[in-house]
């Protein structure tokens, strides 16, 4: 459990990190653009009053994809060291889905 308090002196390494970060940043900008696009599609479908049977699943899927983008790119779940966060987030999503399913299906009859 040693702590890496000693900072990295090696400039080459530093440059390498910077480059890597820039790469990631590019991904994130692309992600952002796609998220905006998804949002536009979702709003567009609703405003255009496309049939509900078609719209509802589409906008829910778009929302789910946006969330995955947020989790994996903006919140860096795609990087290493995120196994436990992933376990807990997915467990949370599992419990969340059960909760929502129950409350939407068996509260009125």
């Amino acid at each position: 459990m040693a702590d890496h308090t000693n900072s990295v002196e090696n400039t080459d390494k530093h440059e390498f990190y910077k480059k890597k970060h820039r790469e990631q940043m590019k991904h994130q900008v692309v992600t952002f653009v796609m998220m905006i696009a998804f949002t536009l599609i979702a709003f567009g479908l609703v405003i255009a009053e496309v049939s509900a049977m078609f719209t509802i699943p589409i906008i829910l899927v778009l929302a789910a994809v946006q969330v995955l983008f947020q989790l994996y790119y903006f919140m860096h779940m795609n990087e290493e060291g995120h196994q436990w966060p992933a376990v807990m987030i997915y467990s949370g999503i599992f419990a969340a889905v059960l909760t929502i399913l129950a409350l939407t299906t068996i509260t009125w009859w």
Binding site: M1, W84, M88, S91, G92, F94, A95, L98, T99, A102, L103, T105, I106, T107, W108, W109
Partner: protein, 618 residues
């Protein structure tokens, strides 16, 4: 800065010490005191209930007061007694079992305790301000919404405060287990108590938010005119039932899993054998937790969800019996071929096995959805969950307390008195609750203030009350034992039980930094391995060096105090809004103070450590 010795000190400085402590071992003692206090309060309420039901048409308590007592009995026992007592054990033992010097968030740990404590006090203040909550510990809407006075407000806000505390404690244990394990302590070498506490913490993490929301909705309905559960405005009472049980069912496993863990420590230690089927025990624990999340609606079979939903939840519930059965048989086969010592923790563990088996049996019977139409909300259910919670959790807590008492306090409880305690409590328990199964089937619904004559329910109720007195006397014996032992103050060695796990490798009570050097773990039951293969001492994983320790802090106390004060403001409104202002200012001010001040702890230096012996259990 490094105050190493626990010199005799005045009351004031002891009090200050405990108010500001972030040491998990002292927090354990705080949890123990708080939990025991509320356990006695809840027990007193139980006695009132049994006295009221000793004869038919008794008028010992009024109807309203009886409802308050039964509500507070349930609420107190679950939230303010069982959970904190388990947290006491977890705090005392879990970091030691994984070879950690501290928990991951010492500050948050203290905060968790103080939130629980103030929540509990808040809830009980209701007795003195016009009536306690009276809608049952489940607080079903809309009864809880229509309930007059402020009783249910105390319930909602008090549980909200202590619920935050529980959530934080849960996260703390999760991260402690993941990040703080000593070298060599892989997941599959962790003691079962650590495993079950870990899994229980996972359940806390996902179950408590549902309660948080439920309590918020209830609070808003009662205090701010919201309409979640008000049928006239389109609200729906079933939402409360779902939210409550989405929390409430995992809560049962939050309680029982750590108790399973205690037995999985006690039984191997006193059978002198390693736990039979360790990996399947771990797997069963995880499976119970997973299934425990999908079965909450078995509390709602009679609500009218329809046969499809009922069938699904019935089958899911029955499935839980499988991993639980695995556990029972693994314990039995740990005993098989062992050298069983009848110490008092072991007697508790052995008393647990048949008792809990009965609780599990009735659990499967209740899972049978159609049959539950008869059992539901009758004394059968009362008997069932007392078999599980008293026969499982309470016996587990006492087994654990007695087992780890030397480690927590450095003293040894009198074995003879412990055996007396066990037999009085155990016999009293079965007298009280076994016949209640039949009472339920004979037509006695639960939460009945009184029962009428001529229904043939008199005799069993009388016997039940007699049993309750046995349990009360047993508990008094235990208290007497505690006082006697602590007054005598005889010191014990680090390993008085000749046990197997890491916490017994250091002195009793442990020094405040726990391990002088990080231990090197070479397998399951590390101390046993060293006893068999080495010199009985755990090898260090690092050379002696400075130890980093967190600073003490009053902030957790202040944050909790603030919420406590704010609760009154929110509840009484009007001129009392000032209190809400003061309370929230205290809370957020303390939080701000905490985040603005650099708190990087201090070091115990190598030189000081060298003066203190070798840090083994000697």
């Amino acid at each position: 800065m490094s105050t190493t010795a626990n010199q005799k000190a005045g009351i004031g400085s002891v009090l200050w010490d405990y108010l500001t402590t972030v040491d998990h071992k002292k927090i354990a003692i705080l949890y123990l005191i708080g939990g025991m206090f509320f356990f006695l309060v809840g027990g007193l309420q139980a006695m009132l209930i049994r006295i009221q039901l000793v004869v038919p048409e008794n008028e010992f308590l009024s109807a309203q007061f009886y409802n308050e007592v039964l509500t507070m009995h349930g609420t107190t026992m679950i939230f303010l007694a069982a959970m904190p007592l388990l947290f006491a054990l977890m705090n005392a033992v879990l970091p030691l079992q994984i070879g950690a010097r501290d928990v991951a968030f010492p500050f948050v740990n203290a905060l968790g305790f103080w939130l629980f404590f103030f929540g509990g006090i808040f809830l009980n203040i209701s007795w003195f301000t016009g009536g306690a909550p009276d809608a049952g510990w489940t607080a079903y809407a809309p009864l809880s919404v229509f309930s007059e006075g402020h009783g249910v407000d105390y319930y909602a806000i008090g549980l909200q405060i202590s619920g935050f505390g529980t959530l934080m404690a849960g996260i703390n244990f999760l991260v402690t287990v993941i990040n703080m394990r000593a070298p060599g302590m892989t997941y599959m070498r962790m003691p079962l108590f650590t495993w079950t506490s870990f899994i229980a913490s996972v359940l806390i993490l996902f179950a408590f938010p549902a309660l948080t929301v439920g309590l918020f909705l209830l609070t808003f309905d009662r205090l701010f005119g919201a309409n979640f559960f008000n049928p006239d405005m389109g609200g729906n009472a079933i939402i409360w039932e779902h939210l409550f049980w989405i929390f409430g069912h995992p809560e049962v496993y939050i309680l029982i899993l750590p108790a399973f863990g205690v037995f999985s420590e006690v039984i191997p230690a006193f059978a002198k054998k390693r736990l039979f089927g360790y990996s399947s025990m771990v797997f069963a624990t995880i499976l119970i937790a997973f299934l425990g999340f999908m079965v909450w609606a078995h509390h709602m079979f009679t609500v009218g969800l329809g046969p499809i939903a009922n069938s699904i939840f019935a089958v899911a519930t029955m499935a839980i019996a499988v991993p639980t059965g695995i556990k029972i048989f693994n314990w039995l086969f740990t005993l098989w071929g062992g050298q069983i010592r009848m110490t008092s923790p072991m007697v508790f563990a052995l008393g647990f096995i048949p008792t809990f088996t009965v609780g599990g049996m009735t659990g499967v019977m209740l899972a049978s959805a159609a049959a539950d139409f008869q059992y539901h909300d009758s004394y059968f259910v009362v008997a069932h969950f007392h078999y599980v919670i008293v026969g499982g959790v309470v016996l587990g807590i006492f087994a654990g307390l007695i087992y780890w008492w030397p480690k927590m306090f450095g003293t040894f409880l009198n074995e003879k008195l412990n055996h007396w305690f066990f037999w009085l409590f155990f016999i009293g328990f079965h007298l009280t609750f076994f016949l209640q199964h039949f009472l339920g089937l004979m037509g006695m619904p639960r939460r009945y203030w009184t029962f009428l004559e001529g229904q043939n329910l008199d005799l069993f109720n009388l016997i039940s009350t007699i049993g309750a007195f046995f349990m009360a006397i047993g508990t008094l014996v235990f208290l007497f034992n505690v006082v006697k032992t602590q007054l005598k103050g005889e010191k014990v060695s680090g390993d008085p039980w000749d046990a197997r796990t890491l916490e017994w490798s250091i002195p009793s009570p442990p020094p405040f930094y726990n391990f002088k050097q990080e231990p090197l773990v070479r397998g399951l039951d590390p101390l046993w391995i060293e006893k068999m293969q080495g010199n009985g001492k755990i090898q260090p994983a690092e050379p002696l060096g400075d130890i980093h320790m967190p600073n003490r802090s009053l902030t957790p106390f202040m944050i909790s105090l603030g919420l406590f004060i704010a609760g009154f403001g929110i509840m009484y409104q009007g001129g009392m809004w000032v209190l809400a202002g003061i309370g929230f200012a205290t809370t957020f001010g303390s939080m701000l103070y905490r985040s603005l001040k650099d708190d990087i702890g201090y070091h115990v230096h190598k030189e000081e450590l060298e003066e203190e012996g070798d840090g083994s259990n000697g």
